[in-house]
Symmetry: C2
Subunit: 208 residues, 2 copies
DNA sequence: GTCTATAGTAAGATAGAC
DNA sequence: GTCTATCTTACTATAGAC
């Protein structure tokens, strides 16, 4: 086999084209043509377009989430028996995603993130499988922010994810490639913003 | 005419279906069927599917942006000759969007916002036309946050937009409709988060 | 302005030879 | 495992009668 595994070639080009055009507009024909494999190979190796998307996500985002849990566990262990600092916890979530920006072309990861914002009918199932266990672990924030209601913590967690995603997902691939995306600086900015956000006074009514 | 204008009927159902399924997956056939008008009526009134999308956006998001500018001008006038407070400026941006959540079904607005995250090829042009003038006006933040570099202000503005969009755009219509979306509370939470975020210390190197 | 009918295109999926 | 060829379906858009 002189060239990479067919399966890997499909994944590589599917990832690129999904990221660039979104799920619907990236046709299997375009993907297989770019990968220089046969159209039918997709169905042989993955079964369907949807399963191909899932494989793309699993390959790229799965490791990010594993790293998040690894870092979170480390932060908890190092601080024990006390609680880890808010910043360490937030960083354990944000840094793995930003670290990936070094290895993969940034706009690829950004484009994949955008797909998670597309029609939920396709992505909701993957989203839950990918992120469910991770988000579960971040309940550790509850005792770290004891003055906030669980609902407000959840809301702020959502704000953080939105800030992270949108900071990396503007409108249009051209803009995407031309942006200032020094990952370390972007992470510094983002961490400062969300850490302050989490430390803001509670706004929910205090429970009776 | 016993029922609303054909044009309006198309807009109503296009809005709903675009919001629910995204641009690509909402077919003109489904839209015209729901609106109980003929398929060809879309092309007669709007010319193309893309122009229909633009009309939908203009009708719903245009007024939000006008209200933003109106409130921003008011805040500036009331504070003159001093600068308006950070909070007033941020609120002038966030509140009009949240106010709309009272009038329209929340998930509709959220679904439209999601389309702005879809493939830029279609939406970038509309995005610039819709938001360009507004974002321009918020340069007022530069003197309000003198310790931040212009780039960092831009980054934080982006974080704010991301937090706003994502807080209202989770994954999947089912979840969308069942969420806790009391607009006023959501606004309070969001404002507290982003105001604190803007007030965080600068992270960019001080300019030489 | 509204309709029917259809042109023209592109998509995902599959059967079956090799 | 890989290929060609094709099935089936769905879409946007338009022509032309009323």
């Amino acid at each position: 086999m002189p060239r990479p595994d067919t399966r890997e070639r499909i994944l590589d080009h599917a990832e690129r084209l999904f990221a660039e055009h979104g799920y619907d507009r990236a046709s299997l024909r375009a993907i297989t043509e770019a990968a220089e494999v046969n159209l039918a190979a997709v169905h042989y190796h993955f079964g369907s377009k949807e399963h191909l998307l899932e494989a793309v996500f699993q390959r790229r985002i799965g490791p990010i989430n594993e790293e998040r849990i690894r870092r979170l566990d480390l932060a908890i262990a190092e601080a024990a028996p006390a609680l880890p600092s808010l910043r360490r916890v937030l960083e354990s979530f944000l840094r793995p995603a930003v670290e990936q920006l070094r290895r993969v072309d940034a706009w690829i990861l950004m484009g994949l993130a955008r797909i998670l914002h597309e029609d939920g009918a396709i992505t909701t199932r993957h989203f839950d499988r990918l992120f469910g266990p991770v988000i579960e672990r971040y309940r550790i924030l509850l005792p770290i922010c004891p003055e906030l209601s669980p609902e407000e913590i959840q809301a702020r967690f959502r704000f953080m994810i939105g800030a992270m995603l949108h900071s990396t997902v503007p409108s249009g691939p051209e803009e995407l490639r031309s942006r200032d995306t020094d990952p370390e600086r972007q992470l510094r900015r983002l961490l400062a913003f969300v850490e302050a956000g989490f430390e803001a006074p509670a706004t929910d009514e205090v429970k009776a």
